[in-house]
C-alpha cells in the first residue's frame, strides 16, 4: 500500500491509507500465548478477549472540516478462575511479559474476593452461524474520500444560504474470544456513518445513516434532505403543550424504544428493576407491536456470540403486544431453570445480559401516508436528551430537535417550536395507529436498531422551549 511517508512535498495531498487490522492468525497467536502462559499459573480456567479497532472520523461545522481524527488500538482482556473466584484485567500491551503480568494481576484480584458458589465453569467449544459484515469498500474509505464528500455537502449548504455541520466516519474492528476449555470465536465487521445538520437562520434539521456498507447511503442525498427540512423549519411558531397525535420518524422511534432494551434482561427482572416485573405474558402493548432480538437480521450488526462465547439466538421478546420471552446469560438461565440465549455480557458483571439487536415488526404505512391520514398532529424528526423519569411506568422525558412540524388536514403546514415530552413508553406502544416498514435507524441516544416510523395518538408534551 502506498504510504504518505513517501511524500516529500509538504503541500502535496497523498491518499491516507486506512489503518489495517491484524490478520486473524495474529489474534489467534495472542490468544494461544495467553492460554499457554496461563497453564503455568494457578489459574484453573482462563478466558481471553482480543479486540482491535481502526476508526477514522471527519467532523465538520460552519461549512468546513474542523476536526479530523484516526485511531488504532488493540486490547487483550483476561479473566481467570481460581478456587471459585474470578476477575478480569485488561491491557493494551501485547508482549509476552505484559501478558504474563496481566494473567498474574487477574489471579491476584480473584484471590482477594470471597468465593462465588454459583460461578459456572467456562463453556466449551461452540458452533456459530456465519455473518458477513466486513465490506472492503468501507474499510478502504480514506480521509480524502471523506473530505471530498464533506466538501460537497458544505458547498450545497453555501449554495442554499445554509450552514452545515456533521460527521463522516468509517472503521473496522475485529474480536477473538477463547478459553481454556477449547472455545474459540472470531468476528470482524466494518462501520460507516454520515450525519448532517443543516442550519438556516435559527432553524435546523438533520439526517443520518449508518451501515456496514458505505455504499448503502449517499451523503449528498442526506445533506439535501436535511437542507430541505431546515428550510421548512424556519419561522417556527409556538403551540400550547398538551396531548398530540405524532408521526415519529424512525430515528425518533429508535431513541425512545431503545430505552426498553435492558428491561428484557432476565437479571433485570430478578433484580426487580425492569418495567416487565409482574407484566410478562400480559397484553402490555398494542397488538400491532412485535419485537425480536435478532443479530442475524440483514440490517443488524454485531458479533454472533456473546461475552462468554455462546452463540446468540434469535428471541421473540414481544408477540402482538404481549411480552413473551426474556434473554438469559448462563448464570441467569441457571438461576431461572432456563436455557441461555447467548446474550450475556463479559464476566464478571452485575448486569447479566441484554438484547442488543432489537428488530421491531413493521407495517405497510409510510411517513407520507401517516401525514395524509392526520387531521391535526406533529411530525417529529428526532428527539434529544431522553432520560428515564419513572422506571416502572417507563415514563421518559426529552426534547424534540431539528425539525418539528405541524400537520393539519393531511398536510405539513409549518414549523413548530420544540416541545418537552413526558411520555410513558408502555402507553405509547399501546397507542400506535400506523407503522411503516422497519428500517435500520440511527439516532444519538440508543444504539442502532431496526424500527419503523410510527403514528401515535395522545403523545404527551408538557412544556415548550424558546426555539
Amino acid at each position: 500500500m502506498k504510504s504518505t511517508a513517501k511524500s516529500s512535498n509538504a503541500s502535496a495531498i497523498s491518499r491516507v491509507p486506512a489503518s489495517e487490522l491484524l490478520p486473524e492468525r495474529e489474534l489467534r497467536r495472542i490468544v494461544d500465548t495467553v492460554l499457554r502462559l496461563a497453564k503455568s499459573t494457578v489459574a484453573e480456567e482462563t478466558e481471553v478477549h482480543v479486540d482491535e479497532i481502526a476508526n477514522a472520523l471527519t467532523r465538520f461545522a460552519n461549512n468546513a472540516i474542523h476536526q479530523n481524527v484516526a485511531e488504532h488500538g488493540l486490547t487483550v482482556s483476561i479473566r481467570t478462575v481460581v478456587d471459585s473466584r474470578t476477575a478480569r484485567v485488561t491491557t493494551n500491551r501485547i508482549d509476552e511479559d505484559s501478558l504474563r503480568a496481566t494473567i498474574e494481576a487477574s489471579l491476584s484480584l480473584a484471590h482477594s474476593e470471597p468465593k462465588i458458589p454459583s460461578l459456572l465453569p467456562m463453556p466449551g467449544k461452540q458452533r456459530y452461524s456465519r455473518v458477513n459484515r466486513f465490506i472492503k469498500q468501507t474499510a478502504a474509505l480514506s480521509a480524502e474520500d471523506r473530505a471530498r464528500a464533506v466538501r460537497r455537502a458544505c458547498d450545497l449548504a453555501v449554495k442554499k444560504g445554509q450552514v452545515a455541520a456533521g460527521i463522516y466516519s468509517n472503521g473496522q474492528s475485529q474480536s477473538a474470544l477463547a478459553n481454556s476449555r477449547g472455545l474459540f470465536a472470531a468476528y470482524r465487521e466494518t462501520r460507516s456513518e454520515f450525519s448532517v445538520t443543516m442550519q438556516e437562520d435559527s432553524a435546523a434539521s438533520w439526517a443520518k445513516a449508518n451501515s456496514a456498507d458505505v455504499r448503502a447511503f449517499d451523503p449528498q442525498k442526506l445533506a439535501a434532505r436535511a437542507g430541505e427540512k431546515a428550510h421548512l423549519a424556519v419561522n417556527a411558531r409556538e403551540l400550547a403543550p398538551g396531548r398530540y397525535a405524532v408521526i415519529l420518524e424512525p430515528a425518533a422511534v429508535l431513541d425512545l424504544v431503545g430505552f426498553l432494551f435492558y428491561d428484557f434482561a432476565a437479571t433485570a427482572l430478578a433484580d426487580k428493576r425492569s418495567c416487565l416485573n409482574e407484566r410478562m405474558g400480559k397484553q402490555l402493548f398494542g397488538q400491532n407491536i412485535s419485537i425480536t432480538d435478532d443479530v442475524y437480521h440483514p440490517l443488524q450488526q454485531g458479533a454472533p456470540f456473546d461475552g462468554e462465547g455462546l452463540p446468540r439466538q434469535r428471541v421473540v421478546l414481544v408477540d402482538r403486544g404481549i411480552p413473551k420471552n426474556l434473554v438469559y446469560s448462563r448464570a441467569a438461565a441457571k438461576a431461572a431453570h432456563k436455557q441461555p440465549t447467548g446474550h450475556g455480557f463479559a464476566l464478571p458483571n452485575e448486569y447479566g445480559e441484554a438484547p442488543m439487536n432489537l428488530v421491531f415488526g413493521g407495517g405497510d404505512s409510510s411517513v407520507e401516508k401517516m401525514v395524509a391520514s392526520t387531521d391535526r398532529g406533529l411530525l417529529v424528526t428526532r428527539l434529544w436528551y431522553i432520560r428515564e423519569v419513572d422506571p416502572y411506568e417507563k415514563v421518559m422525558t426529552g426534547m424534540t430537535r431539528d425539525g418539528l412540524f405541524l400537520v393539519e388536514n393531511g398536510q405539513v403546514t409549518g414549523a413548530v417550536r420544540n416541545f418537552r415530552f413526558n411520555q410513558s413508553l408502555i402507553e405509547m406502544l399501546k397507542n400506535v395507529e400506523l407503522l411503516g416498514p422497519a428500517v435500520r435507524a440511527t439516532g444519538e441516544e440508543a444504539f442502532e436498531m431496526v424500527v419503523p416510523a410510527m403514528k401515535v395518538h395522545g403523545f404527551h408534551f408538557s412544556e415548550v422551549t424558546k426555539f
Binding site: 504510504s3 468546513a64 472540516i65 479530523n68 481524527v69 484516526a70 480521509a143 436528551y385
Partner: protein, 486 residues
C-alpha cells in the same frame, strides 16, 4: 516517553506541520461493584498510547496509536499530517492559535492514600459491609455499591517547546438501595446518584464518606418513599440540595459557556448555546447574589476539573463566568480565544485518553458560597419543597429549557421539614431560573461535587468535571411537571 514525543513532533514537522502537540498517556483503572451481597464487577485495566494533533495547510489532523515503537509513532505522526492536509480540502479559513508560552514542568495531584496500594480485601469488605447494612432494611429489593480508582500519567510535548508531565489520582465511591413495591420503583443513593462522589483524591475520599452510617439511612428512605405523598404540581419555592445543584450548574451554566458550542462546532451532536457572543458582559444570567467561576486550579479544591495544565499546554486558570449575576466569560481554547476578545486561552482543552482529540471541556464550574446557614435557610422558608439527589436530567440542545427529577423531596411548611415527598421534579428556563435565586448557603455547606460521566465530542469522549455548590433557594419555580399528565 519524551523520546516518543520528540520522535512524533520531529516527524510531523518534517512532513509539513506548522504546529504539533503530542500526548503519551498511561491510564490505570480499578472497578469494584457489589450487588445484593455478591461481588459484581472486579476488574482492572491499563492502556498506554500516543495521540498527535497537527496543523498543516492551515487545518487540523489527529492520529493515535498504541504501537509505541519508533516506526509506529512516526507512521502515526505522518498520518496526522496527511489527515490535516485532507482537512484542508474543506476549510474556509486558516486556523490561528492564541500565543502561549512553552512550559517544562512536572506535577502530581495531591493524595494521602494511593488507592492502588490499599488491599483489595479492604476495599471489597467495606463495600460488602455497606451492602449488608442496606439489605437489613425491610422493603429493600436491590442493593448496589461501587468504587472506582484511576491513575493517569500524561506526557505532553508541543512544537513550541513545552514538556509537561502530570499524574492524577482519582477516586470514586457510592452506594444505592432500590425498593420495588406495588407498581413503583424507588431508589436512594449516597453520597450522590450514578456512582456517588468522585474527586481528584486518593482513598481518603472513601474514608471520608462514612458508608456504614449512611447505608441504613438511605435504605430506610428508599422503602419509606412508597408511602410518601406524591410531590404536588405547582409554581412555588424550591430548595436544591448541593449535589442536585451541582448538576443544575453543569447542565444550565457549564455546557452553554463552552465556546465550541457557541460557535456551532457541536451543532450536529451536543448542540449549540443560547449564549451567543453578543450576550457577553450584557446578559443578566442570574440574580445579583450568584457568582460562578470556572476554576481548574488546586486552590479551588481537588475536583475532577483540577489540573496544572490543560491538554493544550495552557496553565490552569480561574475565569469569572457569572459575577453578581452578570454573564462574564466563556470556556475557550487557543483556537477560539480571539473570537471573544481574549489574547489567551482560558485553559479548558481536555482529552479522555491518548486516542482522543482534546476539546473544550468544563473544568470546575462552581457556584461560589453565599451567606446563609442551612438551618436558617429552612427556617426562613414558609412554604417550599426541598429536593435532593438527582434521578433524571434533561435540557434542550441550546440549553434553555430543562427538567430535573430527584430521588427524594421534603415539604417545608412554616420553616420546618414536615413530610417526605416522592417523585419530585422541577423545570424551567435557564435564565429565569437563575434569576429567581434568592439564597445560597455558606462555605461550610459547600461541596466540590464530581460529575464523572460527561459525554461530548465525536468520537464520544467521557470526561470528569467538578461543580462546587451549597444548597440554594429559588422562587416561583414550576414543580411537579414530570409526573403531571395533563
Amino acid at each position: 516517553m519524551w523520546d516518543l514525543c520528540t520522535n512524533a513532533l520531529d516527524t510531523a514537522q518534517l512532513r509539513g506541520a506548522a504546529y504539533a502537540d503530542v500526548r503519551v498517556m498511561h491510564l490505570r483503572q480499578r472497578d469494584l461493584t457489589t450487588k445484593n451481597g455478591q461481588v459484581g464487577t472486579l476488574s482492572q485495566s491499563e492502556s498506554i498510547g500516543l495521540g498527535i494533533r497537527v496543523l498543516a495547510n492551515g487545518a487540523w489532523g489527529f492520529a493515535s496509536t498504541d504501537r509505541l515503537t519508533r516506526e509506529g509513532v512516526a507512521a502515526c505522526a505522518a498520518r496526522a499530517v496527511s489527515i490535516a492536509k485532507a482537512s484542508a480540502l474543506a476549510k474556509r479559513s486558516e486556523v490561528v492559535l492564541a500565543p502561549e508560552q512553552a512550559y517544562v514542568d512536572s506535577w502530581q495531584s495531591p493524595f494521602r492514600k494511593d488507592p492502588f496500594e490499599i488491599p483489595l480485601e479492604t476495599q471489597l469488605s467495606l463495600l460488602l459491609a455497606a451492602d449488608a447494612e442496606m439489605r437489613r432494611v425491610k422493603g429493600v429489593t436491590l442493593t448496589e455499591t461501587d468504587m472506582q480508582f484511576r491513575k493517569i500519567d500524561s506526557w505532553f510535548a508541543s512544537s513550541i517547546g513545552s514538556r509537561i508531565h502530570q499524574r492524577k489520582v482519582i477516586s470514586g465511591c457510592g452506594i444505592a438501595a432500590t425498593s420495588f413495591q406495588g407498581e413503583e420503583i424507588q431508589k436512594r443513593s449516597y453520597p450522590n446518584s450514578f456512582g456517588g462522589q468522585h474527586a481528584l483524591q486518593g482513598y481518603e475520599l472513601v474514608d471520608s464518606l462514612d458508608l456504614m452510617r449512611n447505608a441504613p439511612i438511605i435504605a430506610e428512605e428508599a422503602a419509606a418513599l412508597h408511602s410518601a405523598s406524591q410531590c404536588p404540581e405547582k409554581v412555588g419555592t424550591l430548595i436544591l440540595g448541593a449535589s442536585q445543584l451541582g448538576l443544575q450548574i453543569h447542565e444550565s451554566i457549564g455546557h452553554p459557556i463552552e465556546l465550541d458550542r457557541v460557535l456551532g462546532q457541536e451543532a450536529n451532536f451536543a448542540g449549540t448555546s443560547f449564549l451567543t457572543l453578543d450576550q457577553l458582559n450584557k446578559l443578566q444570567y442570574a440574580s445579583s447574589i450568584v457568582n460562578v467561576v470556572a476554576d481548574a486550579r488546586l486552590d479551588h479544591g481537588q475536583g475532577l476539573g483540577t489540573f496544572a495544565y490543560d491538554d493544550e499546554g495552557v496553565p490552569a486558570q480561574c475565569t469569572d463566568i457569572i459575577k453578581a449575576g452578570k454573564f462574564r466569560g466563556y470556556l475557550s481554547n487557543r483556537e477560539t480565544a480571539h473570537l471573544v476578545g481574549l489574547d489567551r486561552s482560558s485553559g479548558t482543552m481536555r482529552t479522555e485518553s491518548w486516542n482522543r482529540l482534546p476539546i473544550i471541556r468544563m473544568t470546575n464550574v462552581s457556584l461560589l458560597p453565599g451567606a446563609w446557614d442551612y438551618d436558617e435557610l429552612i427556617a426562613d422558608t414558609h412554604d417550599g419543597i426541598l429536593m435532593e439527589t438527582n434521578r433524571s436530567w434533561s435540557i434542550d440542545d441550546r440549553r434553555y429549557q430543562f427538567q430535573f427529577s430527584t430521588e427524594i423531596g421534603w415539604e417545608i411548611k412554616g420553616g420546618k421539614k414536615v413530610r417526605m415527598l416522592k417523585n419530585p421534579s422541577y423545570s424551567g428556563i435557564t435564565t429565569e431560573f437563575w434569576n429567581s435565586c434568592d439564597a445560597i448557603c455558606r462555605f461550610d455547606h459547600w461541596t466540590l461535587w464530581g460529575t464523572p460521566n460527561c459525554g461530548k465530542g465525536q468520537p464520544m469522549q467521557t470526561m470528569g468535571t467538578g461543580h462546587g455548590a451549597s444548597p440554594a433557594r429559588f422562587r416561583n419555580v414550576r414543580i411537579g411537571t414530570a409526573f403531571s399528565n395533563q
